[in-house]
Amino acid sequence: MTSIEQISEEAFSDRVLRSSMPTLVDFGSKSCGVCLANAPAVQNVADEYEGELSVVKVDVEASPGLANTYAVRSLPTLLMFKGGEVVDRMMGHLTRSSLARFVEKHLESGE
């Protein structure tokens, strides 16, 4: 199983902005029920696209600056980063298939 690392504000630049592959950032919090419900689907997608997609998570309570920087107003919000920029976002409850569809638009093979 691919490990989905929770990253801090300090690590964000290296792990996300300078990542050589598309990176999905899952903004959530421990008190967010929908975030917890989404977790298995996010894990499955991380496993499915391992090697093509990096997946990390940000706890907005631990890293409020990141949530503010990227205009995360509701939870969960998933942002797709490529080349250091946000290229897409998805919010709310998701399914494996809807998340896979979202991800595939931004992978090399889908361009």
Binding site: A37, P40, N44, E48, T95, R96, S97, A100, R101
Partner: protein, 279 residues
């Protein structure tokens, strides 16, 4: 771990008595309960996740009767994975509420049928992850706004790697019927957006009147509902929209009940047809 006769009876007894296995299964999906019950019982996680999804994660008498009926019909010696795959085929073909009937006249039918063909293949030999992915991508591309494509998309996953997809199929099927009803009755996102502020305002008011929800307070729901009704009665400007919303909700509730009943029945029938030596 094999789902042998002893484990089968232990699981049935546990569900009858609301034991630890039943509690684990019916807990929050993200709690990993079904995984632990699969490890203990020998049943495949995908089947357990489908079982509880079809039961609404509930222990009400109707759901409990369904769990016990299904579990009693799964032959000892199987793990239930093929049962899930056979259920996919069954719900695709069901007359009336079946998924194929909603997708047949759309541009997504061929790609959806390709997914069903892969599901059929998967019953006799492993399907490579790349094949599932290609089938999913093809259906995604053409079926993005076609409601009945959603449950079929959920079928396009390897159940050994992604066992939670089995429940997604059922939820996708329910969502698809909701969308189709909304389209048929002309209920739009704009309609929902017009009502949303009223819902939020009235809910706050009703909570202020009724107090915080208390499951030990038998009168709470009546007070809450009465307060809501008073709010709606004062807004004649929204009455037409609210009546349409209530009609859509009633139609959705009826349809979801029909889909749930059909889904449960199909799984029971597939279980009856499952041979003891299938895996």
């Amino acid at each position: 771990m094999t789902f042998d006769e002893g484990r089968k009876q232990a699981l049935l007894d546990d569900f009858r008595e609301d034991g630890p296995l039943a509690k684990a299964c019916l807990g929050a999906p993200e709690s990993g309960g079904t995984e632990s019950v699969a490890a203990e019982s020998g049943l495949h996680v995908a089947l357990l996740k489908l079982l509880v999804a079809l039961g609404g994660h509930s222990r009400d008498p109707e759901s409990l009767a369904f769990y016990l009926d299904l579990l009693s019909r799964i032959p000892a010696g199987t793990n239930g994975l093929d049962l899930v795959r056979s259920w996919y085929a069954a719900i695709w073909e069901l007359p009336g509420v079946g998924i194929a009937s909603g997708i047949k006249s759309t541009a997504a039918y061929a790609d959806a049928s390709a997914v069903i063909a892969l599901v059929s293949d998967s019953r006799s030999h492993p399907v490579a992850p790349q094949e599932w992915r290609q089938a999913r991508a093809a259906l995604s591309a053409i079926g993005e706004n076609i409601a009945p494509a959603e449950p079929v998309l959920a079928m396009a996953w390897d159940l050994d790697r992604v066992p939670g997809a089995s429940a997604d199929v059922f939820y996708g099927w329910q969502s698809a019927t909701t969308l189709q009803i909304e389209q048929r009755l002309g209920w739009t996102i704009a309609d929902a957006d017009r009502l949303r502020p009223a819902f939020e305002e009235f809910s706050k008011h009703a909570l202020a009147v009724a107090g915080p929800p208390d499951k030990d307070d038998d009168g709470w729901m009546s007070r809450y509902s009465a307060a809501l009704e008073t709010c709606w009665a004062d807004r004649s400007d929204l009455s037409g929209l609210k009546q349409r919303y209530d009609a859509v909700n009633a139609a959705v509730a009826d349809d979801r009940a029909a889909v749930t009943a059909a889904a449960r029945k199909a799984l029971i029938e597939c279980a009856k047809a499952t041979k003891a030596d299938s895996i």
